[in-house]
Symmetry: C2
Subunit: 329 residues, 2 copies
Amino acid sequence: MKDVAARAGVGLKTVSRVVNGEPGVTLETESRVRAAIEALGFRRNDSARVLRKGRTASIGLVLEDLADPFYSPLSRAVEEVARANGSLLFAGSSAEVPEREQELALALCARRVDGLVIVPASEDHRYLEPEIAAGVATVFVDRPAGRIDVDTVLTDNAGGARDAVAHLIAHGHRAIGFIGDTEGIYTADERVRGYHEAMASAGLPVDEGWVSMGPTSPERVRSELDRMLSGPAPVTAVFSGNNRVTVTAVRVLADRPDPVALVGFDDFELADLLRPGVTVIAQDPVRLGRTAAELLFRRLDGIAEPPRRVELPGRLVARGSGEIPPPSA
Amino acid sequence: MKDVAARAGVGLKTVSRVVNGEPGVTLETESRVRAAIEALGFRRNDSARVLRKGRTASIGLVLEDLADPFYSPLSRAVEEVARANGSLLFAGSSAEVPEREQELALALCARRVDGLVIVPASEDHRYLEPEIAAGVATVFVDRPAGRIDVDTVLTDNAGGARDAVAHLIAHGHRAIGFIGDTEGIYTADERVRGYHEAMASAGLPVDEGWVSMGPTSPERVRSELDRMLSGPAPVTAVFSGNNRVTVTAVRVLADRPDPVALVGFDDFELADLLRPGVTVIAQDPVRLGRTAAELLFRRLDGIAEPPRRVELPGRLVARGSGEIPPPSA
DNA sequence: CTGAAAGCGCTTACAG
DNA sequence: CTGAAAGCGCTTACAG
């Protein structure tokens, strides 16, 4: 910038004015400056700009896995809102490792992102308190924050799970299995809670072998399903706790001679093309992401109100697999 | 930092040393500095650091759509390599709009990203020349750059398309339709080229109604398929040009009374669970992303060699739909 | 082991 | 309409 000013024979401030399109520069001066910029291949350095201005016009997104079919539309929605607000997006995957979430979030804060959208992997977010106090707008999405009070956007997981299980009960099932994600993950805990509530409110007992929480690896899901479907108190229907479990469940059930009812949490592409179509509780990842990002930019616009908690409903989509009656019926 | 130094009663440089874990500080001094950092809630500002150091330890990724099931694993792979190299990732979607690609890429350069991984939406990338000259490492992936010579990582699209069509020919088909993406998109053009080459090398004529290029919207794909399957020279097999076309094609063919052979470019989840399973030419988006990012960091490590062009093979995965014989056979 | 000075490339507040 | 000075928060190169 100094070189440009020298070459154009003007002051630094004048170059700054031209680069930023500010008024108060003669057309002739401006064209001289532009020529110098061109000749020198000048490119403004936004880092220096940031240092003076405070705002970086960038936000950070920390989630579990950028490649997950549930989170990638959520990311895209956050990106769109950022774009509409003139911001760029940093994105990082925690891979469900608490230390990695923290490392990412703090690295983004050190870059002075204006705000942070977080799908947490950890349970204690007090490490963010100094950042929030320093003005970093923060919104949690899909799962709540731990030990701090911030804006949060969630799906009604327990409600969705209740609907799923009630649907199976309405179709005549009494022995219903649940295969969920690892205990401690908020959504997993909420969904198993919804399962128990629905069974209880229908007056149905739950055999201890019917509920299985753990990693969503195909191996585990397959063996747990096989166990539930045979054994002393076999289930006649299965509620799968998320999209990855559902995909494996579909594979396993396809190999069995008798049809078994299935409802999955989370929708997925082609669910309607399988035979039978897969009945699901659909979340709306785009709306989750959009709502979270909009909340973030409201804060950045200076809206000061107590932290909000927004809960979006799940939606039951019946496609066939959830309407299969129990064998005896 | 100044405040911390004052409070600890040391020089600025000593604070810097403690913050950066550099040697040459007494344990006692260090603990005094740490206490001051704690008390003042000090957070290092990386923007200032960047201003001095040159490197920002961040790279940018510009692609078509972060939520696309093909690009989201590619993004994740780029992110992993960035992480392994201590870099953060900016990610942005061009939505196939050339101006948006350019706007994003230049905004990232203004933030002084160290490097750029680009899935281009435009055909002329000379706008990047000043940036590249200024030291921004740049790698193109999935589609080549236009009018500049840079590192590029591609799938062998024409080769994959030839394999797909040859496979259908080997199963007895002579009237084979192709539904591709919009003309002008590199991968679309390469795949239609492969289609024609395979037909030609088998000595088969191509009816002009058998090839259709355009948007991948379900409406267009459906109407074009219906047209190709009826009319004067109906096809007995279809080669679909990408994952979105394939998904619609599966839906359309499922509604038809007679089985029609189908091979799709790009693999997709659950392709094996459909009846029949869908035969595809599988690309490896993770490997594309990883290779591109590794090439980028090689450049950042100072490797100076002529731009490289890496081409990864596609892989035919036979699952049933591509092995359906023509009706007369 | 420690620190004062200069500077990275911009913008802000002010004066002309 | 234009510019010189100060400063954003760090690091570099040097001296003690």
